[in-house]
């Protein structure tokens, strides 16, 4: 058996390097392969240099180079896939959290009126229609015919369905799992009572003009904890 020495190995290493074949995953086994081929030639009784010439003459460097790129790609894509997998599992965790979050958090994104209405007054500082001074309007008003159905804007539990002759008049407060509560004021009547469970879209009451009101309308509020926030930002359908 002809065994190549270290000088010859170095020569071959440089030969491969000169041909651009020095990809980390490939260079060792390619060197071994070339060595085996040359050793095979040398067994026929020729010198290392002759064997080296024959082998490299038959060696398809161009194909090897192309495939080196492929190999590189396989390894990079493997790395990429691994990365992708970790990104994917992270995404799955987030999705799970979101799904879990939907259970834990009902966002009141429904429209509170089932029927014709128009947005009469928005959220924020306004000139109070009754007191005639600038005051904070902590909800939004929908002008609608008295008796128009008012519906739950998300699943929840009726926290209050009470008559309050001042202010809100007939008022419903629904607590949604999570941090939101919704408030419906000036109703003409109730369709639910305190403690009822409601689903989004259920009719809970009817538009009226009870309490501090000059005309039939629905006063609608969304509370995040104790903070009143603009319902217009929530209503999506």
């Amino acid at each position: 058996m002809n065994q190549l020495n270290s000088t010859q190995l170095e020569t071959l290493r440089n030969d491969l390097k000169a041909r651009g074949l020095s990809l980390f995953v490939l260079k060792d086994e390619l060197l071994d392969h070339i060595c085996c081929l040359i050793e095979l030639e040398m067994e026929k009784g020729i010198s290392f240099d002759e064997g080296r010439q024959i082998v490299f003459k038959n060696f398809n460097s161009a194909e090897m180079l192309r495939n080196q790129k492929k190999t590189k790609w396989i390894y990079q894509s493997k790395k990429f896939k691994r990365k992708f997998k970790s990104v994917l599992s992270a995404a799955a965790v987030i999705m799970l959290m979101m799904v879990g979050g939907v259970e834990a958090q009902e966002t009141p994104d429904g429209h509170p009126i089932y029927g014709d209405c128009e947005l009469a007054s928005g959220f924020g500082i306004r000139r109070d229609p009754i007191y005639k001074i600038k005051r904070m309007h902590s909800g939004i008003d929908f002008k609608a015919k008295a008796g128009t159905p008012v519906v739950a804007t998300a699943d929840g539990t009726v926290l209050e369905a009470v008559s309050n002759p001042d202010g809100y008049g007939n008022k419903i407060i629904i607590s949604h799992s999570g941090e939101y509560k919704t408030l419906f004021g000036h109703l003409s009547g109730f369709n639910v009572k305190t403690g009822d469970k409601v689903r989004k879209g259920d009719i809970i009451g009817y538009v009226g003009s009870s309490g501090r009101s000059s005309a039939p309308h629905l006063h609608y509020e969304i509370l995040q904890g104790d903070k009143k926030i603009n319902p217009e930002l929530f209503i999506s359908k």
């Binding site: 071994d32 060595c35 894509s77």
Partner: protein, 112 residues
């Protein structure tokens, strides 16, 4: 030698079959084995063999062992458990394919 197209579809099966029968093999050994078994009719090129091996490795069908051999590194390929299953599947599929091809050729002969 057979056409590139034909070889492309069978190389994986050949490699898996050889690795199934031999505990571990290195690249050059595989090319020599194929050459011997097919009486030089199939000569695997390095450019085709190594990418196939790497592909199999990336799919988890083979794993590698490195051994020092006369100052150079020799990389052996071995089948993993899923590689064993894949080898069996590929071998069976190919055997059946050959049989099916025979039907086609025989029916053509019968028609003539």
């Amino acid at each position: 030698m057979y056409s590139k197209e034909l070889m492309k579809g069978t190389l994986k099966t050949i490699v898996l079959k050889l690795l199934k029968e031999h505990e571990k093999m290195y690249g050059y050994e595989i090319t020599q084995k194929v050459k011997d078994l097919t009486q030089d009719k199939i000569q695997l090129t390095e450019g085709a063999l190594y990418p196939t091996l790497h592909k199999l490795e990336s799919l988890g069908y083979v794993y590698t062992e490195k051994k020092e051999y006369n100052g150079r590194t020799r990389k052996y390929y071995l089948l993993t458990e899923s590689g064993q299953a894949e080898a069996t599947e590929k071998i069976n599929e190919f055997a059946e394919f050959v049989l099916t091809m025979k039907f086609i050729f025989n029916s053509k002969l019968a028609a003539e």
